[in-house]
């Protein structure tokens, strides 16, 4: 990418984030449910209520509130959570790593599982097995992540309880972590007991989030691969005597992966959105779980902060996807 295109993207990202901030701000002010109403005493007088409202800066005119908030955000001050009474940025900093580890695990799982299924499907072209795989994949496509979460809780959790159902760590043995990135930290420290514990806790929510992704990737990638497999260059390679597996992996994959990659980017952001419910069900201490509490409590600064972070993540992911796509496409990476 050239310098101008980088500047360009950053400019776009800024505009997008501003838009996200504006929309969520306006949306939140029209949402019924008053954070103040939830915490006043039964014997409070109207004056008490007004004082409380002023305390949280909710008495100012909306545009003023918005610009104050915006000004603070520019200085990386996201305000203080009403319900948790701590800095929004600090809270997000604590929770986001959990969500990132979870979603990346789910991403890796989805890509691997989806990729393997897609490649297998292409190798099994025109066999009854292919139809069966397509059918199962179709079923999987119809199952949203929260239903997976339920099914996993009911089936695996109870009937075959090998994986823990809640949290991110075994609370009894949890050792102290210095960073919020438990998985990474435990690996870096070569503390395999902890790594095993963190991974075991990841399995269930990861499956719930990753299975729909795997299904989507399997379908898209398989379509693209099938298309690539009838290209002339694949034919030529086949004539040279390459095995089918090699044809798929060496000839078709890199050319077919483009649309899948873009789609994975989009799906990944959906998946981060999906953590809102899945983290809830598995009591996983991520940002999605916190988001529900924030909405229930009408914790305006916190919701605003979370949505903004989601937006920034979305942008970062998309830029990353573009960069990877560029790398993979020799047309763009060259010169």
């Amino acid at each position: 990418m050239t310098l101008t295109s980088v500047i360009n993207r950053l400019g776009m990202a800024a505009i997008t984030l501003f838009g996200v901030g504006l929309v969520v701000f306006v949306l939140l002010r029209v949402v019924p449910g008053d954070p103040i109403a939830m915490m006043i005493s039964p014997s409070a007088t109207p004056a008490d209520i007004a004082a409380l409202r002023a305390h949280y800066g909710l008495d100012l005119p909306l545009p003023e509130q918005f610009f104050i908030w915006l000004g603070n955000v520019v200085h990386l001050d996201f305000g203080t959570s009403i319900s948790l009474r701590r800095g929004v940025l600090q809270l997000i900093g604590e929770r986001l790593p959990a969500t990132l580890e979870l979603t990346f695990a789910a991403l890796v799982f989805g890509v691997l599982a989806g990729g393997i299924v897609a490649v297998a499907g292409v190798l099994l072209r025109r066999t009854p097995l292919e139809a069966a795989m397509d059918f199962v994949n179709g079923l999987f496509l119809a199952v949203p992540d929260f239903v997976w979460a339920l099914v996993l809780v009911l089936l695996v959790g109870v009937l075959w309880p090998i994986f823990p159902l809640s949290g991110r760590l075994d609370p009894v043995h949890a050792s102290d972590f210095m960073t919020p990135f438990y998985l990474i930290e435990s690996i870096v420290r070569l503390n395999w007991t902890d790594t095993g514990d963190v991974l075991a806790h990841l399995v269930m929510p990861m499956l719930a989030l990753g299975l729909p992704l795997a299904a989507v990737i399997a379908r898209t990638l398989k379509e693209a691969l099938s298309e690539a497999m009838v290209q002339d260059y694949v034919l030529l390679a086949r004539l040279k005597g390459m095995s089918e597996l090699r044809l798929v992996l060496q000839e078709a994959l890199r050319n077919a992966v483009g649309p899948t990659l873009t789609l994975t980017g989009v799906q990944f952001t959906f998946m981060i959105g999906g953590t809102v419910i899945v983290e809830r069900i598995f009591a996983f201490p991520g940002i999605g779980n916190m988001a529900i509490d924030a909405v229930v409590n009408r914790d305006l600064p916190l919701i605003q902060g979370i949505v903004l972070v989601f937006g920034a993540l979305f942008i970062v992911i998309n830029i990353a996807v573009d960069l990877i796509a560029n790398r993979l496409n020799p047309r763009q990476s060259h010169g």
Binding site: T16, V23, P32, G138, A142, F146, F270, F310
Partner: protein, 295 residues
Amino acid sequence: MADVAIPAPRSAGHFRSLKPLLDESRVVLAGGFLIILALIAIFAPWIAPKSPLEQDLMMASLPPIGFEGYEPGYYLGTDDLGRDVLSRLIFGARIALTVALVAATLAGLVGSLLGLASGWYRGWTDRIVSRLVDIWMSFPPVLLSVLLVAVLGSGLSSVIIAIAIIDWTRFSRVVRAETLAQGGLDYVTAAESIGFSRRHILWREILPNVAPVIIALLSLEMGIAVIVEAILSFVGLSISSDAPTWGGMVAQGRQVLHESWWVLVFPLCSLFATVLAFNLLGNGLRKALDPVMRR
């Protein structure tokens, strides 16, 4: 004359594009299922054995016919309020299909219009729409829908509007790309060189060619709408009145799973089957409508 040996059309007249569709057995299956479902939904009051709202606490938690302790007349058993599961399923189909149809159509309408406009007129229209799409896509959809329903209040129309507001971007992006692609084809240049106005070209020349994509997307979106409704019901925010929604039934059935599994299993199956049917239909449509003309 050799040159007048006109190849026979693949099939007659306007139904030409139906033929490849009907060749896909999955599309036939999915379409058939949805048509039956639609009929059931339309004629729900005549088909349903009971009223979906009528509760009889004395008849609560009856198992489906054939299981121990069933009561005749309650084919799929009753829930913990003694309401007939089958009747609720049937009336639930009404809501599911209404949400699917109306929400998908709304989202499709808004998204397609914006996508067409930005893909065809480009320039500022495109820049603004694209930015709007970016902003929209940056919101986590579940959170946005929860907030939207909180703003709009719960109820059928709120759910529909929320889905449309969230999902128009899906259409806008795809339709824009397709419009851009179509706009580069020679038949568009031909229309320009004949002297048609840009608007005419958009509506009469490009739209018919983008339509299959929109139709396929619509079908997929209907499946998505059914899921979103279920998610909202699950979070407890969907249709408010005691209207029998599948998602609501799932949420309710989940709590009594070990006691009366049928309250959960049947709506879950209906949900799956419907989403699956919409997906199959959508993908079939995409495949069948798209390449016919581009050979």
